[in-house]
């Protein structure tokens, strides 16, 4: 047994290196990065078509207009992207968009104007909006993580409940005369561009950095890709999931705030039907419904593409009644195209 005493950790510098495999990968890696940019050619094509349809299209005013109308829903896409990457789903985001500013309006709008209670001064409206977002996120997370319920069903239920609450407190009507602070983000211009556009772009930039270059961001991919492996690597999976689900609701509340500010009102149907566009944009942008796959940049190009197409249709004089049908068709075509460029079946 004496010879076993000599066994000791060895750095293994004697082992021969294998440089052979390094060279071959180069092209494939370039291709992998290309897939992140897969929608760029489509966006360029749309830009050219748009310019042919109407010379207004490429005017800065029109482009800023597109960015502003998409900014609220883009924030939702960002939120959903985080949730999808950890292999969960949050359908209730679209109701949060309405309910969070709805509750704030309910409490701050003076009595007499619609269903407002006028209980709190207007300055409270923004904190309340965000707090409602966090609260909804906590309820979602409790059901999904704590009690282990299926996220799809939980948030589907939440979608209906939250929409119902908004209809209840508003009496099915629209809140007007919102406090000044609620209007700020939706109406102000910074350097000639709406604040909501700046905010949306800043959030996406932050999202790209978060997902690509921080341990927290990478842990989302690990959890979505193989939760057991993530646990084995020492990632606190439940904590990460809590943060993601609550942040998503918070972001949805922020999106609602932008929308209410721009429209200077909270309708009881605010955000209704958004979730389909949100999912479509995420999937077109390369986010997998099976988790662990896709980038924030891809998601951004997804939503951008959808809104550019819509803008071109409007400029082209397509009757408003037909926009819905065309929108759906475009989503299907875009999905089919991204299936072709992605090369693999979407799950």
């Amino acid at each position: 047994m004496a010879e076993t005493t000599t066994a000791a950790p060895v750095t293994g510098d004697g082992a021969a290196g294998g440089p052979g495999g390094r060279v071959a990968g180069g092209r494939r890696i370039a291709f992998a990065r290309m897939r992140d940019l897969a929608l760029i050619p489509a966006i360029v094509v749309i830009a050219i078509v748009g310019q042919l349809v109407s010379p207004v299209f490429l005017q800065p005013d029109n482009l800023v207009n597109v960015l502003q109308t998409m900014s609220e829903i883009a924030v939702l896409v960002l939120a959903q992207t985080l949730v999808l990457i950890v292999k969960k789903m949050d359908l209730s985001l679209e109701s949060t968009v309405g309910l969070a500013p709805g509750v704030a309006a309910w409490l701050t709008v003076p009595v007499g104007a619609g269903h407002g209670l006028g209980l709190l001064p207007g300055g409270w409206s923004v904190p309340i909006t965000l707090a409602v977002g966090v609260l909804i996120g906590v309820v979602n997370a409790l059901f999904i993580i704590r009690f282990g319920l299926n996220g799809f069903i939980v948030t589907l239920g939440m979608l209906i409940v939250l929409r119902g609450i908004l209809t209840g407190i508003s009496g099915g009507q629209t809140f007007f005369q919102l406090p000044e602070s609620m209007l700020y983000l939706g109406t102000t211009q910074w350097l000639g561009v709406p604040a909501s556009v700046w905010l949306c772009l800043a959030l996406f930039a932050a999202g790209i950095v978060l997902l690509g270059f921080t341990s927290f961001g990478r842990s989302l991919y690990a959890i979505g890709g193989n939760v057991d492996a993530a646990k084995a690597a020492g990632i606190r999976t439940d904590r990460v999931l809590w943060i993601v689900i609550v942040s998503a609701s918070l972001l949805a509340a922020l999106g609602g705030l932008l929308l209410s500010g721009r429209l200077a009102s909270v309708a009881s149907a605010q955000g209704n039907g958004y979730i389909f566009t949100v999912f479509a944009a995420a999937v077109i942008g390369g986010i997998s419904l099976n988790g662990g796959k896709g980038t924030m940049f891809g998601a951004f190009t997804g939503i951008l593409l959808l809104f550019l197409i819509q803008n071109v249709l409007t400029l082209g004089g397509v009757p408003a009644q037909w926009i819905g049908a065309l929108n759906g068709t475009i989503i299907l075509i875009a999905l089919a195209l991204s299936r072709v460029t992605g090369g693999k079946a979407q799950e």
Binding site: T4, A7, D13, G18, G21, A24, F213, S219, D228
Partner: protein, 501 residues
């Protein structure tokens, strides 16, 4: 004698799950530099011991020490990772991420700004793989690795935490012969560098090839630990099963002289898989299709059952020519099929044994597409009896069975339509010794009753009872070996080596 303390020592370990005792005062002692085999049938307590040794579960009683020191707290994952690492059968690699990221998951290299520096991460990953001479591009997405590369990457990752004691949980289960050889060379390399292994395998052959000491568990208890050289194979099998078992199967009669053909394959080709393959199987005959994993043997078998369509050539089953590439047509022609990977193609895990076993014969269970639950359960009960499936009843989901019993359900399904031709691909992969003997015995029994059998496998034990073995090498049938071959003769043929030449 100033011998080093054992790398790991577990003594008096007892672990209960509810009323079942998974380990009863079991123990194991692994000396530095050893390659220690842990063998036992399914349910002997091997996996429980592994999860206790890796700190995933705490023992109810008993103690674990590493190099003489008590084991760290369960929550202290880092401390555990520095002492022991396990390469599980189930991958702990995240498929969508690159190899580099998998290696340094949750311990990325951060730059001054607090953001991840991918360049450094990749460089470190490359260094790590070079150190242990794993030839894989660190930028490859992990899903593109094959099983073998994946294992090497996981071993390298384990070593990078500082662990010099590695548990390999059935590492060879999904590898072909040449990959197993490469894995063993890698293990020997690491042995020389002072790495200690605990090797878990169903293949006793491998234990004798690579390990120096063997520990046997049976029914949650430690049975024996002995140097491999001092323990003849028969004794080892006896220790595992608790009874003296003979390894040689009884003599078979083989097909009678005037038996009709049940399978004729005539000059079938599938580009990229096999080329110009012709053979026939008579009723009651067992024919082996041997070859390495990529030799084309699996594709040939899958063509016979209709999972693939041959590009040219003819497949005739019991006088019929089923439409190529159609599984229903092949089933109708009288084929029973045990697919390559039971988890992928063999069964629906959450469906009951009864549902799984009768999946191929819904038309016998009731009129006009309806299924008579009682008829199905009656059918399932006879099947459970015939194949000695260990289960409380036919309604248990298949996912609740052990590997051996799952495979029996797959076999039962293959036999459900009283096939004229039984096609088996790797029928005993990941199955314990006793279930293996049972399954192969069943195959012989089926053959005796006049069914033709085709076994596509590289497992010598599966092929031993074949009347003749066709050896496939690079898509062509290169040899036909009658029964009574020597191991080295067949292995050489499978590897494309000509011993006589």
């Amino acid at each position: 004698m100033a011998a080093a303390a054992p790398v790991v020592e577990a003594t008096g370990i007892t672990k209960r799950f509810g009323s079942t005792v998974a380990l009863h005062e079991a123990g194991i002692t692994i000396e530095p530099g050893q390659t220690h085999a842990l063998v036992g049938r399914n349910g002997a307590g091997k996996s429980t011991l592994v999860s206790i040794l890796t700190g995933l579960q705490a023992a109810d009683e008993g103690a674990v020490t590493f190099a003489g020191e008590p084991a760290p707290r369960l929550a202290d994952r880092d401390a555990w990772r520095q002492r022991v690492a396990c390469v599980y059968q189930k991958s702990t690699i995240i498929p969508e991420l690159t190899v580099a990221e998998n290696l340094f998951l949750n311990r990325h290299d951060h730059g001054r700004t607090g953001l991840i520096r991918w360049k450094t991460v990749r460089a470190k990953a490359r260094d790590l793989l070079d150190t242990w001479s794993v030839d894989v591009d660190v930028r490859t997405p992990a899903k593109e690795l094959d099983v073998e590369q994946r294992q090497f990457v996981e071993i390298a990752r384990a070593l990078s935490f500082g662990a010099r004691f590695i548990i390999l949980d059935e590492p060879t289960a999904q590898l072909d012969a040449s990959a197993i050889n490469r894995l063993f060379n890698r293990i020997r390399d690491l042995q020389r560098q002072g790495v200690t292994f605990l090797f878990i395998s169903h293949h006793l052959q491998e234990v004798y090839e690579i390990c120096d000491t063997v520990t046997v568990f049976r029914d949650a208890r430690h049975v024996l630990t002995a140097p491999v050289d001092d323990l003849p194979r028969a004794d080892l099998v006896a220790a595992m099963t608790g009874e003296a078992a003979s390894e040689t199967a009884g003599e078979r009669h083989g097909p009678s002289a005037d038996a009709p053909d049940v399978l004729t394959v005539d000059s079938a080709s599938l580009p990229g898989a096999y080329d110009d393959v012709s053979f026939r199987i008579r009723a009651g005959e067992i024919v082996g299709l041997a070859g390495a994993a990529s030799s084309g043997r699996i594709e040939i078998a899958e063509t016979v059952v209709g999972l693939r369509a041959a590009f040219g050539g003819v497949v005739e089953i019991a006088g019929h020519r089923p439409r190529p590439g159609s599984v229903p047509a092949a089933l109708a022609a009288g084929v029973g099929f045990v697919p390559q990977d039971r988890h992928h193609q063999g069964f629906v895990p959450e469906m009951s044994i009864a549902d799984n076993g009768t999946l191929t014969i819904p038309d016998r269970l009731g009129p006009a597409g309806f299924i008579d639950g009682r008829r199905r359960d009656r059918f399932a009960r006879t099947m459970i009896g015939k194949l000695a499936i260990k289960t409380p009843g036919p309604e248990l989901p298949v996912s609740g069975l052990s590997g051996g019993n799952q495979q029996k359900v797959v076999m039962a399904r293959a036999l459900a339509n009283d096939p004229r031709l039984l096609v088996l691909i790797n029928p005993t992969a990941g199955v314990d010794v006793r279930s293996k003997e049972f399954l192969l015995g069943k195959v012989e029994e089926v053959a005796e009753s006049g069914t033709g059998v085709l076994i596509a496998s590289d497992e010598l034990d599966d092929l031993r009872m074949c009347d003749r073995v066709l050896v496939v090498f690079q898509g062509r049938v290169v040899a036909e070996i009658p029964r009574g071959w020597h191991d080295h003769q067949l292995v050489a043929a499978m590897e494309g080596v000509d011993l006589d030449g």
